[in-house]
């Protein structure tokens, strides 16, 4: 699971079965100091509350589909939490 910043949204009305109702957000993986790491990806919103600019954390591969209410929705990244703070331990 890694930190990411929501930078946009994607709407795709024509899509494969199973993706109905899934909200897609473009997220940019970042480190703790908001420095970009790697490329942005499109992630399903597993908490259905993430908005643009928010810091979230995401999971990939099979865990991504487990983050959605329906069983085995075909997604490869999903937002599983909205970050309030990353406190220095």
């Amino acid at each position: 699971m890694e930190l990411a910043r929501v930078i946009g949204t994607v709407v795709a009305t024509q899509q494969v079965e199973g993706l109905e109702g899934v909200k897609f957000l473009i997220v940019q993986p970042v480190d703790r100091n908001d420095k970009k790491i790697g490329e942005p990806v499109v992630a399903a919103d597993g908490v259905a509350m993430a908005g643009p600019g928010e810091l979230v954390y995401i999971v990939a591969s099979r865990e991504a589909s487990l983050a959605l209410p329906e069983k085995f929705v075909p997604v490869d990244h999903a937002i599983v939490g909205i970050v309030d703070a990353v406190s220095e331990v």
């Binding site: 790491i37 954390y57 599983v80 331990v89």
Partner: protein
């Protein structure tokens, strides 16, 4: 499994159910000697009470992670499964 150093706590109130009431720690991944940071970090659920700055053993695979938290279909990938006391890597000189 990976070796990492606990560098922060991730505070989150809106999240998937599995993360409710579980400590989320930000870990900086280390190389095999446990000394040099690799420049990458990941978020792991703490299952052993790891503290600040400790070197930890991180399980970074979903099925095993679900086994640790005992939740069949939780969207969880990384779990801290151990606190490292000592790392010994084959010394260069062969005895």
């Amino acid at each position: 499994m990976k070796i990492g150093k606990v560098s922060g706590t991730v505070v989150s109130t809106i999240n998937a159910p599995v993360f409710e009431a579980r400590r989320l720690l930000l870990c900086d991944l280390l190389d095999e000697t446990g000394k040099k940071p690799e420049g990458r970090s990941l978020i792991a659920v703490d299952a052993v009470g790891a503290g600040a700055g400790e070197t930890v053993l991180i399980l970074d695979e979903g099925n095993s992670a679900r086994q640790v938290v005992d939740l069949e279909d939780a969207p969880i990938r990384a779990v801290i499964v151990g606190i490292v006391d000592e790392i010994e890597v084959e010394s260069k000189t062969r005895r």
